[in-house]
Subunit: 67 residues, 2 copies
DNA sequence: TAAAAAAGTAAAGAGTTCTTTACTTTTATA
DNA sequence: TATAAAAGTAAAGAACTCTTTACTTTTTTA
C-alpha cells in the first residue's frame, strides 16, 4: 500500500520529529510508514488522516490487486 | 472505534462464515471485529470497505476523543 | 567544506491482529 | 421443543505494529 504521508507532512513544513510529536508516535514510526516498511494501524491511519484534514483514502492508496 | 460491519454484512444477507470466505479471513476474525475485540489492520479495513462499496470512514467510526 | 539538522536503520521487546482448533451458547426453524 | 445453523469464545502461536535506544547516512546551511 502506498501513502502520501511524506508529501503531506512536507506541505505543512514539518520534519519527521515535529510531525511524530503532533500525532503522538515515535519518529521511527513516521519514518517506517513513510518508507513503506509497514502500514499504520487503522487507529493511527485515522489520526494521520485527521491531522491532514483528509480522508484515509486520500492519504493511503490501497491498490486492489486482482489475483 | 465502532464499526458497521455486522449491519452491512446482514444487509447483504450473508452470515459470518460466507462473509469471512468472501474477504478471505477466518470467521473468528469477522466475529472479533464485529464485537469490537480488536480493530482490523488498515489493509483489512480497505478490503472490508471495498467489499461493501463504501469508504473506510463509512464503515469504521473513529470517535476522536479529546481527553 | 565543516558542522548541524534531518532522516535512515537495526535490534530487542511489548502489544495487537489474525490464524487454527475446538468447544459452548444463542438463534432460527422443523 | 428438539435439532440445526449461526455466532461467541478461548488458547496458543505466527506475523505485524510500535516503542526505546543508539548509531549511521544524507541533506541543509553557516
Amino acid at each position: 500500500m502506498e501513502n502520501r504521508v511524506e508529501e503531506m507532512r512536507k506541505n505543512l513544513g514539518l520534519n519527521q520529529e515535529a510531525f511524530a510529536r503532533a500525532i503522538k508516535v515515535s519518529r521511527q514510526t513516521v519514518s517506517s510508514i513513510e518508507n513503506g516498511k509497514y502500514n499504520p494501524s487503522l487507529e493511527l491511519a485515522f489520526v494521520i488522516a485527521d491531522f491532514f484534514g483528509k480522508s484515509i483514502e486520500e492519504v493511503f492508496i490501497h491498490e486492489k490487486r486482482k489475483e
